[in-house]
């Protein structure tokens, strides 16, 4: 039974099946919306001959094409894997509901875009875990791929279902569906995994032995080797079932980004995707230390690419894509040393090609506005700021170190340089928040309004849009011990802020659905028992839940009730220092002691400086600049 996929006859019958699938697909595409999502022949798509490859890898993104194609991680892995002659990596995205309908009506399995191969025929299916509300979509995709959902029910002939991405640092709600998770930077370890797979496959051994071997690699977490224990509703710890597996799984870190492989021949989609542009990753990690930010913790330490490397990459990407825009990406691009110079040089290098440079996550300050306006068109569109909180006190709690005066002055300067609209982003329900902090948001917005009116000389055409979302306490952050506010309280605060902002002219207010933030919190802090809830919610119809049109909390509410689980125990969990946490056996390198210290400082309203400006704060990771440790 074991190696049925690799017999000649089987392969030939699969080949015929794939031809039929290809044919049927042509008859389906005229009847679905945006058929361009399912073509697989975009510019720079990789096509190989099946007979020349030994490992088939399916990169799966649990959201629509337009979202998945905007994700850098997917492009990196697609490139790294396909650079190897013996590996063919292909893609699949969540099909839209109308496509699912067509697949079901024609009894067709979910297939890879490049070669129209059914998901079940791959060696690996690798999902990216970016967002908790995409979890049900993963189940939907596996089922459409005709792959058994539960790991223990998948026989030897099915692919290994694996995942990586930031949420792999607490994948417990998904643990029973996956063979293993990969923590940290994936581009090097993925090839080691494939190497182990290749020799394991030659020996024709059982899946269990492959898992055992691969679990020896840094950052590989095979959940079937770890058993969570509970007392009543509380999680009490992890029991290690496989002695050879590590008690605590660490993460992979690429120390030299200049030496790492980078997708300089990225796919160019036909459809307009969310981020339809070339991407240059300036650096990984962030040391600002915002206490709510999971990315700021799990991607540490900071590792930079050199300007020379970046300029070379930009040239290659441009000549391979023809893109009109180039985005300089990182968690906080303004922190790149001598960013100004890099931007100036890129501008000069690509003057003839009219390449527009894009700088998201800039952390704007008055000085930066002056500097950037001097070297490039500052644009007329909107400009986004994220003060996150309305008062200095609360910004100190979350360690978002920007001042009221700076925000106002930055906005004023942006308008002086020609911007007509400003977007301000806040979080509601941050730890220790009171109604005075909501009033503080209104005051801040009012001060900005006054300053920009003065700058523009008139009120005409100026707009400020304020948007808010509910704070979600995430694992591996100092706020992992904090309870999310209740759903009633979420609505009350939204209404209160709304009433404050109503009084201001030219200001509009929108908010992210609090129900979504609630279930995001439940899943983010979830333990393995939520796997059943996930399964039930999916069975009831949950799919593509990141989209407000598709999200329905009732699926979740019912699923949890049927299992006798209380979602408030997860979202509203308030921890004590020594509580075992469901993700304690997974480490991003930032120590629990550091997080606890940060948590205590936050409650005292004390800030922690960026370790690059001050001294090493002792987060637990070694990094490039560790001159002195705090006494």
């Amino acid at each position: 039974m074991a190696k049925i996929l690799f017999t000649k006859e089987h392969q030939n019958s699969r080949k015929d099946f794939i031809l039929v699938l290809k044919d049927k697909l042509q008859n389906i595409l005229p009847f679905v919306t945006k058929p361009g999502r399912y073509l697989g022949n975009e510019w720079n798509a990789v096509h190989k001959s099946v007979s020349n490859v030994t490992v088939r890898f399916l990169l799966a993104y649990p959201d629509l094409y337009e979202v998945g194609m905007s994700h850098l991680g997917l492009k990196i892995l697609y490139d790294v894997l396909n650079r190897q002659e013996h590996i063919w990596a292909e893609r699949v995205f969540a099909p839209a509901p109308d496509m699912i309908e067509m697949l079901k009506r024609n009894n067709l399995p979910l297939f890879s875009l490049e070669s129209t191969t059914p998901m079940a025929d791959f060696s690996f299916v690798g999902f990216t875990l970016q967002y908790e509300l995409n979890y049900t979509t993963i189940l939907g995709m596996l089922q459409l791929g005709q792959v058994p959902l539960w790991q223990r029910e998948r026989g030897e002939k099915y692919p290994f279902i694996i995942a990586g991405g930031p949420n792999a640092f607490n994948p417990e709600p998904l643990a029973d569906f996956f063979d293993f998770f990969v923590l940290g930077d994936g581009e090097e370890v993925i090839l080691k995994i494939v190497d182990i797979y290749s020799s394991w496959k030659k020996q024709g051994k059982e899946k269990y032995l492959f898992l055992k071997e691969v679990a020896q690699l840094t950052g590989v977490y095979a959940p079937s080797f770890y058993k969570p224990c509970y007392r009543g509703v509380s999680f009490t710890g992890i029991e290690l079932l496989e002695p050879s597996a590590p008690a605590v799984v660490g993460k992979n870190i690429i120390w030299e980004l200049d030496g790492a492989s980078y997708p300089t021949k990225p796919l160019v989609p036909y459809l307009e995707v969310v981020h339809d542009r070339a991407v240059l990753e300036l650096f990984r990690g962030c040391t600002r230390g915002c206490r709510f930010c999971q990315a700021g913790m799990v991607y540490r330490p900071v590792r930079l690419r050199s300007p020379e490397k970046l300029k070379k990459m930009a040239r290659e990407i441009f000549s391979n894509t023809g893109y009109e825009d180039l985005s300089l990406l990182s968690l906080s691009s303004g922190d790149y040393p001598d960013l100004l110079n890099l931007v100036r040089e890129l501008k000069e290098d690509f003057a003839k090609e009219r390449l527009e440079l894009n700088l998201p996550s800039l952390r704007l300050s008055p000085e930066k506005i002056d500097a950037f306006a001097a070297i490039q068109d500052f644009g007329k569109g909107g400009l986004t700021f994220a003060p996150e909180a309305g008062t200095q006190r609360l910004r100190d709690v979350i360690n978002k170190n920007i001042t009221h005066e700076d925000i106002v002055l930055t906005a004023q300067k942006a308008v002086e340089k020609g911007r007509k609209s400003l977007k301000l982003y806040f979080m509601l329900g941050l730890p220790t928040e009171t109604d005075a902090d909501l009033q503080g948001i209104a005051t801040l917005v009012e001060d900005i309004l006054e300053a920009v009116y003065r700058a523009a000389g008139s009120r005409k055409g100026l707009r400020i849009s304020v948007s808010s979302s509910i704070f979600v306490p995430k694992p591996h952050t100092p706020f992992q011990w904090i309870a999310q506010i209740s759903r009633d309280e979420m609505w009350r605060r939204i209404q209160l802020l709304k009433s404050y902002l109503k009084k201001l002219k030219n200001v509009s207010y929108s908010y992210h659905d609090p129900e979504m933030s609630f279930w995001e919190a439940v899943l983010a802090r979830g333990d393995r028992r939520l796997g059943q809830a996930l399964y039930k919610a999916w069975q009831k119809g949950a799919y593509l839940e990141g989209w407000t049109d598709y999200f329905s909390p009732s699926y979740w509410q019912k699923a949890m009730a049927e299992l006798g689980l209380n979602p408030d125990n997860y979202a509203g969990y308030k921890g004590a220092k020594d509580d075992p946490l469901p993700w304690d056996h997974l480490s991003c390198g930032v120590s629990k002691q550091f997080l606890w210290r940060e948590y205590c400082l936050s409650l005292e309203g004390k800030i922690t400086e960026d370790c690059r400006d001050a001294f090493c704060q002792g987060c637990g990771l070694p990094c490039f600049s560790a001159p002195a440790t705090k006494e």
Partner: protein, 230 residues
């Protein structure tokens, strides 16, 4: 500044990409090729690449045109060589020729399009009669949905120049050939004609191919390359 006109084909899977996607795809191919595409003036500078007439999503074509304005002269031959290798499978340059800068915008010159439509199981036999009937009508009013103002009534009859059922000889059997007005002066969509013939466009498969676009000169339909003046 120079102006080149290309006739190109849009075939195979690329029939599933929309008009705007096609424009983006062409512009990126031109940028990769390094030909000096001219950009419009003003604040929002756009590459000066103009496609003659949108092709319905799902249709293939061997009669598409596109005007490209270049900052410096590039010979048609050189252009063809540099751009062809940057085009994805499914897009093919068929002909490249220079046109005078002062000629009106390409879309305003297009007057008609020639389509052929076939169906996997052959065309319904009743169509011969139905076509006769349609052509004998003095007006053919259909409802057209507009994005802003709901729907409006349009008379398609003046936009139909001819409808003919032809034999292919090959294994595809017969096909419907439609010569329809298209362009800025108004026109009929192939799907509208098929609906009038009683086809359910949302559920029945058909193959649609555009084989030519025409200018109108002195009462005659002429393909753009027949009118090269330089």
């Amino acid at each position: 500044m120079k102006r080149l006109r290309v006739r190109f084909a849009k075939e195979t899977e690329l029939k599933f990409i929309s008009h705007l996607d096609l424009l983006r795809t062409l512009v990126r191919a031109l940028r990769r090729s390094g030909v000096p595409v001219a950009y419009s003036q003003g604040f929002n500078r756009k590459p000066r690449v103009v496609i003659a007439a949108p092709l319905p999503l799902g249709a293939t074509s061997t009669g598409e045109y596109c005007d490209i304005f270049l900052e410096e002269a590039v010979s048609a031959l050189d252009f063809q060589a540099r751009v062809a290798q940057e085009l994805p499978r499914g897009l093919k340059l068929l002909k490249t020729f220079a046109v005078p800068l002062e000629e009106p915008p390409l879309p305003s010159l297009i007057a008609a399009a020639l389509y052929r439509c076939s169906m996997p199981g052959g065309l319904p036999l009743c169509w011969t009669k139905k076509i006769e009937k349609l052509l004998s009508c003095s007006e053919l009013i259909v409802l057209r949905h507009t994005r802003k103002r709901g729907s409006k009534k349009v008379d398609l009859r003046p936009f139909i120049f001819s409808l003919k059922i032809k034999e292919n000889g090959g294994n595809n059997g017969s096909f419907l050939e439609m010569l329809l007005a298209t362009g800025s002066m108004g026109g009929a969509k192939p799907s509208e004609i098929l609906s009038l013939l009683g086809k359910d466009n949302n559920n029945e498969l058909y193959n649609l191919h555009r084989s030519a676009l025409y200018f109108r000169r002195e009462g005659l339909f002429r393909e753009p390359e027949e009118l090269i003046t330089t």
